[in-house]
Symmetry: C2
Subunit: 356 residues, 2 copies
């Protein structure tokens, strides 16, 4: 609280990202990063691109990247928006589409940045509770609203709705913008991007941080109707002409281009998730069915907060949320097979000894 | 205009950055980029840093960079804020400090992104006219306000106020935040950073895009009282946890570290500016005294818009603003000696032949 701040700053409750420890010795299964490095062609391009040209501003429209994304998803280039991570695109989208007289709708348990944006931009919201098994029940969203947003697969649960089911929502909700945050869609879900052809109020947001192994490069994108993207461009160009730096554009282009590496790494993660899910269930964990690169899980006898603390002492970071309804769950990112085997070993030890 | 947009989106008038032509053959003197490449140590660091680690999120606080900036300017690390270019920091600052009941004050002619932020965030403003010779008269700002901002040196004029003069403003204006945008301060001006020790309502914003030759890497920083910076951190953490990517942090750290290269290149630019100023005056141009890496100039007989168009045909880009009071000026970035000699040759031809 400071007399020089705008009043609303006092009321902000910023988002808390997962720990990014300076100690690089941890097995890091807490922020849903990809355990594999970026594609070798990304690394090659970043190593060889001229750094002398960093004296010049980047292309403010990042046309090369938009073109690559448009080709990959078979959409118009004018229907592609890019930003400094999907977080920036979410922020712009809340401003561009959700500053309405009616409250927006999102699940009580989903990406916890959504209420932070509402707070920042003065947007009213209604939290729609997940069902008892932590599912999104779409008919709960068939009500007046200023917009709808959720993650699919949802976070931190990992549950995923099919595109067919999502189309029902679009049919029921033609008047306001629906944003589907597909940060985790490449790990087994079905993208709703094809629906953007028929529904001018549907915006899909994705990121290169997870399935493209580029969390460190901060690149996200959105796909939707040209006019929706036009609204985002107006907000972006009223905020920062050049949100993507020249190296981020180069790296992102190569990441989208290298389809083989993308297919191989996401398949490996899906297989490791399957193995880890079986391993956890063998140890009596309850595991929510996940189409994401993480598992949301609880144990019948050891509280999640204790497991979190014990694992941290043993050099393994997982994510625990101090949030009603899910305080007894851990969110575990799917690492390499070696990393999740180390996790299994640690959990077996903890279950046998009741802690460290 | 689209029915899905928030109403205010229809009223936005986005900022128009200078042209970034795809044709790399132009002599580019239009966006105040540095004509010299970044320091060799920046290039070396960017070439050798592990790209494998881009799979991990960056440090959300960019501590290594804040530490380097704090050391360089001899301020507390908690008084340093970093962002995705100074534009992002300006946007956060308008939200954090200028969303007040009273209008903010800024010059009628200054960085043209300021009115865009007001528009975006619903902030009232009063434009304070520059004097007839395009100077800022500080006593014009001794009035009730919700905040004050201007660039020093001012853009597009290049005129610079001394820190002593700025201290008078701080004494007169203790109740609201004063932001001095020092994007161009390293080309001959005197930074007001030392004043931040005594004035808790003073925020200085700088960029690595100009004097550090890193426009392509998108890094800016702000220095001020710890509580002011705390307000910025709250807004930033409600918008994007990781605005600076891992490579931008690495490059920026090295750019701040290499003091010798910084001193040499800024000295070279100052010398070239002096040469270009003399050259323009020899051709009867009126040149406003500049402490920036650009000159603001008009010719008594040939309209600026014509010169702009003719130079573009001859492969030289300069900036022309279609703005009342300055429509007969050109803003010319100070390039290398070779580039400004080519400009001189082109102008001599145009003055002799009355156009191309």
């Amino acid at each position: 609280m400071n007399k020089y701040w705008s009043n609303f700053v006092n009321t902000l409750s910023p988002y808390t990202p997962g720990e990014q420890p300076e100690d690089k010795g941890f097995i890091k299964l807490n922020t849903n990063e990809n355990p594999y490095p970026p594609s070798p062609s990304v690394i090659e391009a970043l190593n060889t691109v001229s750094k002398e040209n960093l004296k010049l501003y980047p292309d403010p429209d990042a046309r090369l990247l938009k073109e690559e994304i448009a080709n990959y998803y078979d959409v118009e280039q004018s229907g592609v928006f890019v930003g400094n991570g999907s977080d920036e695109i979410l922020a712009f989208s809340f401003l561009a589409f959700f500053k309405k007289s009616k409250p927006i709708l999102f699940p009580d348990l989903t990406y916890s940045f959504y209420p932070v944006y509402c707070n920042l931009f003065g947007i009213d919201s209604i939290l729609v509770p997940l069902t008892d098994d932590l599912s999104i029940e779409l008919s709960d969203y068939y009500q007046e609203n200023g917009g709808i947003i959720f993650a699919n697969p949802n976070a931190p649960t990992g549950r995923c709705l099919s595109a067919d089911v999502l189309e029902e929502l679009m049919k029921e909700n033609p008047e306001t913008v629906v944003i589907i945050d597909e940060a985790y869609i490449d790990f087994g879900g079905e993208s709703a991007i094809p629906l953007t052809r028929n529904y001018p109020n549907l915006l899909i947001i994705q990121t290169l941080s997870k399935s493209r192994s580029l969390a460190g490069l901060r690149v996200g994108f959105a796909i939707g109707n040209t006019e929706l993207v036009g609204g985002l461009e107006k907000v972006k160009n009223s905020f920062n002409s050049y949100p993507l730096d020249s190296l981020a554009i180069v790296g992102a282009v190569e990441a989208i281009k290298d389809k083989d590496y993308f297919e191989k790494t996401r398949k490996d993660i899906i297989e490791t998730r399957k193995w880890l899910c079986g391993s956890l269930e063998n140890m009596s964990f309850k595991v929510i069915p996940s189409q994401a690169n993480f598992l949301f899980t609880s144990h019948p006898s050891i509280p999640a907060i204790e497991l979190y603390g014990s694992l941290k002492k043993m050099g393994i970071l997982v994510r625990h949320f101090n949030t009603a309804r899910i305080e007894n769950y851990l969110r575990i990112s799917v690492g390499t097979r070696q990393e999740v085997e180390a996790l299994e070993k640690a959990l077996k030890f903890l279950l046998a000894h009741g802690g460290v």
